[in-house]
């Protein structure tokens, strides 16, 4: 039997800590036929920060995220993550260079357990070959244990011990969101993209999620780019904010700067409500 001793004081990384690189979005434009989704947008996301992308519906936020993770190919511009040009990188290579994401609508395997879903997130790091896996003993077993260890740290961070062996489909929505974040974390990313991580949650769930986002950022040192509708949350947790409107970048800066920007107030928050 393998004795695996882990102290609460251990660092969570079994693999090397992920590389933290700067993301530079340079003059990116994206059209669908004649519809301009993103026009000439540039901004940077610095290693270790939480960057929020906000904007009204249809402003191009999710398109922006899809460009970064390679689901859409912008017609013009570059997206550089360190020395990798993400515009030409196939999406399935992204986890290898340390980028993970979650989706607006939960994309988990609902008939599998939480644990299995998280272990799947480790897939990209599995080294064993088919023969070793079939035999299991030896290297494959060792590796499985190491991956499980990593996943257990994710479970600990997100406080989902009690649902470890539950089927994902049977869980409450807020918990499923948390599991999805967990699967992204299991990839040991340097940059994590969160598409509306708090959509559809109640206040308590939102507060929990905000705390987890801060934790993964501060404790694990992961850079976060998030899209979010709930302005109060965005302003509370992000270091910087990029504001899009009709595919154009209309502002960029700290939450305070953005909050006072008249264009943002006009575009995002709308006209002042009559008292």
């Amino acid at each position: 039997m393998h004795t695996v001793s882990m102290s609460r004081f251990d660092r969570p990384y079994l693999d090397d800590p992920p590389e933290r690189l700067q993301l530079d979005v340079e003059n990116v434009s994206l059209s669908f036929g004649g519809v301009r989704a993103i026009s000439d947008v540039s901004y940077s996301c610095y290693p270790g920060e939480i960057l929020a992308i906000i904007g009204p519906n249809g402003a191009g936020k999710t398109s922006m995220l899809n460009c970064i993770c390679g689901l859409y190919r912008p017609q013009r511009g570059r997206i550089m993550y360190g020395r990798h040009n993400l515009v030409t990188t196939p999406p399935h290579h992204l986890p290898k260079i340390g980028i993970a994401r979650t989706f607006q609508n939960i994309e988990l395997f609902s008939h599998m357990t939480v644990l299995d879903n998280l272990m799947l997130g480790r897939h990209v790091h599995m080294r064993k070959n088919i023969l070793q896996s079939v035999l299991y003993w030896g290297r494959a077993e060792q590796e499985e244990i190491r991956h499980r260890q990593f996943v257990e740290h994710v479970i600990d961070l997100l406080e989902i011990q009690a649902i470890r062996k539950k089927q994902v489909g049977a869980l409450a929505y807020g918990l499923q969101k948390r599991v999805e974040l967990g699967r992204a974390l299991a990839m040991n990313p340097g940059l994590i993209l969160l598409d509306e991580p708090m959509a559809g949650m109640n206040i308590e769930e939102k507060e929990d999620m905000a705390r987890f986002i801060l934790d993964i950022n501060e404790e694990w040192g992961i850079t976060v780019i998030l899209i979010e509708h709930d302005m109060s949350v965005v302003m509370d947790i992000s270091d910087r904010v990029v504001v899009l409107d009709f595919g154009l970048k209309i502002a960029e800066g700290t939450p305070d700067e953005v909050r006072q920007n008249p264009e943002v107030i006009q575009a995002y928050l709308g006209e002042e409500e009559p008292a």
Binding site: M6, I155, D156, E219
Partner: protein
């Protein structure tokens, strides 16, 4: 040398059981074990670390946290140096923490994690005497630069180094310990006033362990899961005192939410839990069964009826025939074992309830399932237990016989008094309270009313202050009625009012949000939150049935005439319950005066304004209308009221 202290017992166990498992903790999904040798080593290292930081004989260390090895390691380490530990309930509010740590001058505080540290940081300016705060879960603490914070392993490392340089020091410290030294400062539950701090000596702990094990012989082969707060004397009893005396393994669950699953994995042989745990286990079974398919329900109903039949025979000490034994085995195979397995009780050999009275219905239910559940009676001042049932001599209305080493008598006023080596020497720094509690002949006043039955079993009626005299002159215990109500899976808490100055018995009821919520969903009843659900007419009708069932078993004068469903759950954070979740009657009587008056008026509903304070200090006012339900004929009740009042 006599083995008269906990650290000496630990040393002895390390010699006897060396590589057997002493502690087990689930962490990162895996049970991590410590042998007796490792346990001793960690205690020694932490003790020596504390010594280097200035901890010595007569000093106190406070502990706030969930049940983890570090909790008991701290306790034993302090005791090794001739000091004592004081456990503080981990869910205490900052004010409660402050109150308790100001009752005794603590030198150090050991806390679990950020949640607890936040309370301490908030209070730090008002705290006096605490020099360092040690934590054993570093999560979330990266930005905390308070210089009094120190990681638990750092202290252990200091101690390990000190041990290399002074190998005999620890042994000498342990040898100096005496049985009369204070081992723990136990906080009383504080049902009637603020909690007091009782000094419990090593002698008390040893005597309690010997007494209980004189009734039930635990051994090193037993298993125990420690899931109730270690600050509670009941948990100290089994986890520490009996664990040390018998040498069995104590397992700590991963999280509060995983207790049920962790229990199943360990399969404890001993379990000690207060009534609310047994009540909630019962509710779980009731709800699951009502959800099961018809075949399963049929099997369950047949089996449980037979179980009740056999349990009654055993209570009456009648002989069980061979045929009955065979049928029992069949019922076990098809029903009992499966239910007990789900609850994690499958291997339980000795189960105890204590801390408050358990309703007879709940008690009989577990006996019907074949659980050897016994009542224990005791309080912090008697180291948790001094009266208990022995195997084969169980009566559900009694709490059993005095344990070996304990004497019990009833004084002229009907109050229960206890004497023996498990009785504490006094409250810490509170001579006045000590004198009020311990008589000149050394009897501890329990504050409970009770009497002995014909077999010498003790029967506890209730807190002496709570026993009510009904207007027809009979004495009655509100607790008895409340426990009857709480047998329903839909009722989680009840507070019964009555007595000479009141015309009839009335009750507040707290619905069980989980179970009633589920019932509402099954009956397509939409609701938004607790308050909304508790105000539904359908829910009133549901609870009404339970009240009627309770009334059927009560003498007419004790029947509940009117009740209402409270708009909020009674909560320890609002000081309505103690940390062990006992109802604080006088506090509720004061705070809910308006609603109580309403119960005894001729109104059919009460409008109240309730102020809610959020965690961040914001306040909101909600307005609620509480309907009042009258049992039986409304006019008769009103007439009765007027007659009595006149």
């Amino acid at each position: 040398m006599t083995i008269d202290t906990m650290p000496k017992m630990l040393r002895e166990n390390a010699e006897r059981f060396g590589n057997l498992v002493a502690l087990r903790e689930k962490r990162f999904g895996i049970w991590q074990s410590y042998t007796w040798n490792e346990y001793l080593e960690r205690v020694r290292n932490f003790a020596l670390g504390l010594h280097q930081l200035g901890f010595g004989r007569g000093d106190f260390v406070g502990i706030v946290g969930d049940n983890r090895p570090e909790w008991v390691i701290t306790e034993l380490a302090a005791q090794s140096l001739g000091g004592a530990s004081m456990g503080i309930y981990q869910d205490s509010t900052p004010e409660e923490v402050h109150y308790l740590i100001s009752q005794a001058v603590l030198k150090f505080l050991v806390v679990e994690d950020q949640e607890q540290i936040d309370k301490i940081v908030e209070l730090w300016d008002q705290i006096q005497g605490i020099e360092k705060v040690f934590y054993y879960d570093p999560k979330g603490l990266r930005h905390y630069d308070e210089d009094y914070l120190m990681a638990f392993p750092e202290v252990e490392a200091m101690g390990a180094q000190f041990h290399d340089e002074n190998p005999g020091f620890y042994q000498a410290q342990v040898n100096e310990g005496k049985g009369s030294d204070v081992a723990i400062l136990g906080t009383t539950s504080g049902t009637t006033s603020k909690p007091k701090v009782a000094m419990i000596t090593h002698d008390n702990l040893v005597a309690m362990g010997q007494g209980l094990m004189g009734v039930d012989a635990f051994s090193e082969k037993d298993q125990f899961v420690s899931f109730l707060p270690l600050a509670w004397i009941g948990e100290q009893m089994i986890s520490v005192a009996c664990g040390m005396a018998a040498g069995f393994a104590v397992s700590f669950p991963e999280e509060t939410e995983t207790v049920q699953e962790d229990m199943r994995e360990i399969g404890p042989r001993i379990i000690f839990a207060p009534p609310r745990i047994w009540e909630s286990l019962l509710s779980t079974v009731q709800v699951k069964i009502s959800d099961a398919d018809r075949l399963k329900r049929w099997v369950y109903n047949r089996a449980i009826r037979y179980g009740y039949y056999l349990a009654n025979k055993r209570f009456n000490k009648e002989e069980i025939t061979l045929q009955e034994r065979i049928l029992e085995q069949i019922a076990k195979f098809f029903c009992y074992t499966n239910i007990l397995d789900q609850l994690g009780l499958r291997y339980v050999k000795w189960a105890y309830t204590g801390g408050a009275a358990l309703g007879p219905d709940v008690f009989r239910f577990f006996h019907a399932l074949g659980v050897n559940l016994k009542q224990g009676y005791g309080q912090t001042e008697t180291t948790g237990i001094c009266v208990v049932h022995s195997d084969g001599d169980i009566k559900f209305q009694t709490v059993g016989l005095p344990m070996p080493g304990a004497e019990i008598k009833i004084d002229d006023s009907g109050e229960i008094l206890a004497r023996g080596r498990m009785c504490f020497p006094g409250y810490h720094a509170n001579e006045e309270a000590t004198q009020g509690t311990i008589t000149e002949e050394g009897w501890v006043r329990t504050g409970d009313a009770g009497y002995f039955d014909e077999d010498g079993h003790l029967i506890v009626i209730d807190r002496a202050k709570d026993v009510m005299t009904l207007h027809d002159g009979t004495k009655f215990s509100p607790l008895f009625i409340e426990n009857k109500l709480k047998f329903s899976p839909y009722i989680i808490e009840a507070v019964v009012f009555g007595g000479e100055e009141l015309p009839f018995v009335a009750s507040f009821i707290n619905i069980d949000f989980g179970n009633v919520g589920k019932w509402a969903e099954d009956h397509q009843l939409a609701y938004t939150n607790y308050t909304n659900l508790a105000a539904k007419r359908e829910v009133y009708d549901l609870i009404r049935e339970d009240v009627a069932r309770t009334n059927a078993d009560l003498p007419p004068a004790a029947r509940i005439h009117r009740f209402l469903l409270l708009h909020k759950e009674l909560d320890a954070d609002d000081a309505e319950l103690t940390r062990t979740r006992k109802v604080r009657r006088n506090f509720i009587a004061d705070n809910y005066r308006e609603i109580i008056d309403g119960l005894y008026s001729d109104k059919s509903s009460i409008d109240i304004e309730s102020v809610i304070t959020y965690q961040d200090g914001r306040q909101a006012t909600i307005q609620v209308t509480l309907p009042i339900n009258t049992m039986g004929d409304e006019q008769e009740v009103v007439a009765e009221r007027n007659r009595v009042l006149a």
